[in-house]
Symmetry: C2
Subunit: 417 residues, 2 copies
């Protein structure tokens, strides 16, 4: 049993939202209030920005209703940021703010790279002998975090993509006579987890159901083979549904379509669907319809997976429990049980095992044709999209909560980052 | 009271599906079975194709469960087509098929232009003194049919667009600091009904809610004004959400972005979002994210408007009642009540008033700024997106019905269209 550490806690987040990031916030707040050693529960506005500018809000002052509503609200209720703590003086300032508010527990919701920020704060606190427990909570629709079985946010994006592809396919089937190619461009940067998720729209034991072809960043793209693939499907089916991941690469590892930036993480993707359209129009001669689902993939709260939402909440709770138990410099992970029925509990992984690592789709889960998934992927992903979350509708559209956002009094001079 | 006409009925459909076309089919089948004078209830596979090829299915043989399931199934359960009856010999063949199966009631679900097919069959039947009652049922997400207050299919597409824009906006707000422009490209061909529907995502009395700018085919597009509009919003808000209709035109009436075809109905749209992205990147210098919702707009059954679904069913029922009452060569219309509370009943309009006419968004519903809607549009459109339809989910994705499709025996020789 760890020594009791009394003080306040702070939640910050980083990077692109998912539909269940706020469920993790709700999990942290709910669990924190169960522990008397945690006195105040604060949130940092826009992640690192709030930490540097001392923009903190009092989450314990929010209504029960609001905290519950977070479980069906997309985006990031506290605001997020794309900034990392890089300069040593920024890390020092962040720690100064934590000290000023007697923060003894810092919970960082973010992807693998952004846990770096949490790690740096923890390191400096240790160097200064300031007792601080830092726990990361994973998030991200891309599902590319290492160690954890899967990442909160992925299941909901997967459910949205699979649902949309099933609906598009029903439409295409109704209107086509061996002639329409529907191309759906999905996110996922350098991994095919999201593109592969489209195959969850197939009915059990109907491998020929749409999507007929899936192009993944893990498999080098070849335009001639693609044209052949489409021709083959159009001979067999009334129409062809193609799903393509934005980060598709050719045999030399160059992106097929990238709008700005380079092959590093700064790349802004988009347009690979239109590239594939050109190939079909010029080489196959079929009519093409392109849908680019865009940010809807990480924002479609009305299609949140209940399993995903519950696990995101659980990850938030687990972070608090771990910190109370004396853990620090670790990220919560999701562990899948060994049994036939899907079960999930939480574990912990050291920051060092997380930061800078990317989990690709295993090649052995992709069929030899390179454009479809085998049972190993279905066994992995199917449980993650199960269950629906009831989102309240108001006047015909989903109703989301906003934090009241009672600001915590500042006690430090301003800071220029 | 019309003379009693005993015989069989046939349902056919034409053009792009909506999420509620099948609800109209369910309405027709359900009502037809209430009338003893209607003996068999058939469906024509792929609309006109089925009529020419004598591909008819027995809808009365479908289970109750299947007919109920049609109310939450997108696409076109009978199959649709993009073909119209043009050649006189095709019209003659169609009538021959109707006669061969003693069809006395023909129900045609389609948009304005496709009612032409129904009209031609009715005309020839009259010329040949074959007693046939032909009633059209409107459909289409574009909402551009004349006479009817609104068109079944529009409310659901509007609900999907408004929901998606609200969700995207929550995401953008969480991640931006006066710098992100989100562009959402929506359908609608030559009218702005769908683009305008995005404004239904605003909360009541929050005119500054996203979408901040809406570009409609009814308002000539000017790139310099667009750049100014975006700059203005980015000064006021943390981010800017732009919605643009695919059929946007410049001051000379030329399409801003069209992928193939000309200004006629054959144009295939797509790409206007990317055009606007270029303007923002080069003239404003902000980061842009584009989503092209594509066919999902007419296929997202999981976001069907209950009001829309109920009215589509009602339109199907009304078509049968009208035909039983002796009406023919008319299309069912939806009539809005005058009261403060929204009510809707059905009427009838002659084919001549429908075919070839397009209903634009009234200019007086668009604010003077050209990029937002006033209370007249909200009063019109808000009731149409009310209510949710429960779509059954199976294994994490929506479960849709398929017709068993028991074929009716053919009695005619084959036909080469």
């Amino acid at each position: 049993m760890a020594a009791e550490l009394a003080g306040n806690c702070l939640i910050g987040q980083s990077g692109a939202p998912t539909t269940v990031v706020n469920a993790s916030v709700a999990g942290i707040v709910t669990e924190a209030l169960n522990h008397e050693v945690i006195e105040e529960v604060y949130g940092s506005l826009n992640g690192v920005h709030g930490l540097l500018n001392e923009d903190l809000v009092d989450l314990a002052a929010e209504s029960q209703q609001t905290i519950r509503g977070l479980r069906s609200t997309p985006g990031a209720a506290l605001g997020s940021c794309r900034t990392k703590l890089k300069k040593p003086q920024d890390v020092e300032r962040a720690l100064e703010v934590l000290k000023a508010h007697n923060i003894r527990y810092y919970f960082h919701i973010g992807d693998a790279d952004s846990q770096d920020t949490a790690a740096k704060i923890a390191e400096l606190a240790k160097a200064q002998a300031y007792e601080l427990r830092v726990i990361g909570i994973p998030k991200g629709i891309d599902n590319d975090l290492p160690v954890t079985d899967h990442c909160p946010g992925y299941g909901s994006a997967a459910k949205y993509i699979a649902t949309t592809v099933r609906e598009l396919a029903v439409d295409a089937e109704a209107t086509s006579q061996n002639d329409i190619v529907t191309i759906v461009e999905v996110m996922g940067r350098n991994t095919g987890w999201l593109a592969a998720a489209a195959t969850l729209s197939k009915r059990r034991d109907h491998p020929n159901d749409p999507p007929h072809l899936v192009y993944l960043p893990e498999v080098a793209f070849d335009a001639a083979k693609f044209a052949d693939d489409v021709r083959r499907i159009l001979k067999r089916e009334k129409h062809c549904v193609v799903v393509v991941g934005e980060g598709l690469v050719d045999k030399d590892g160059n992106y097929i379509a990238v709008e700005s930036g380079d092959a590093g993480s700064a790349a802004q993707f988009g347009g690979v669907g239109d590239h594939l359209r050109e190939v079909v129009e010029t080489q196959v001669g079929a009519k093409v319809r392109v849908a680019r689902l865009g940010v809807a993939q990480r924002a479609a709260a009305h299609l949140t997976s209940k399993t995903d939402s519950d696990e995101a909440f659980l990850a938030g709770q687990a972070a608090v429990k771990a910190a109370i138990n004396g853990e620090s410099e670790k990220m919560v992970t999701l562990l899948r049980g060994d049994g036939d029925h899907y079960t999930c509990e939480t574990g912990l992984a050291g920051f060092a095992d997380i930061i800078g690592n990317v989990k690709k789709l295993p090649r052995e889960w992709i069929n030899e044709d390179g454009v479809s998934m085998n049972f190993q992927f279905y066994r992995y992903a199917t449980p993650l999209i199960q269950g629906e979350v009831t989102v309240p509708f108001d006047n015909g559209v989903p109703s989301f909560v906003r934090l009241h956002g009672e600001m915590v009094d500042k006690s430090l001079p301003g800071y220029e980052a």
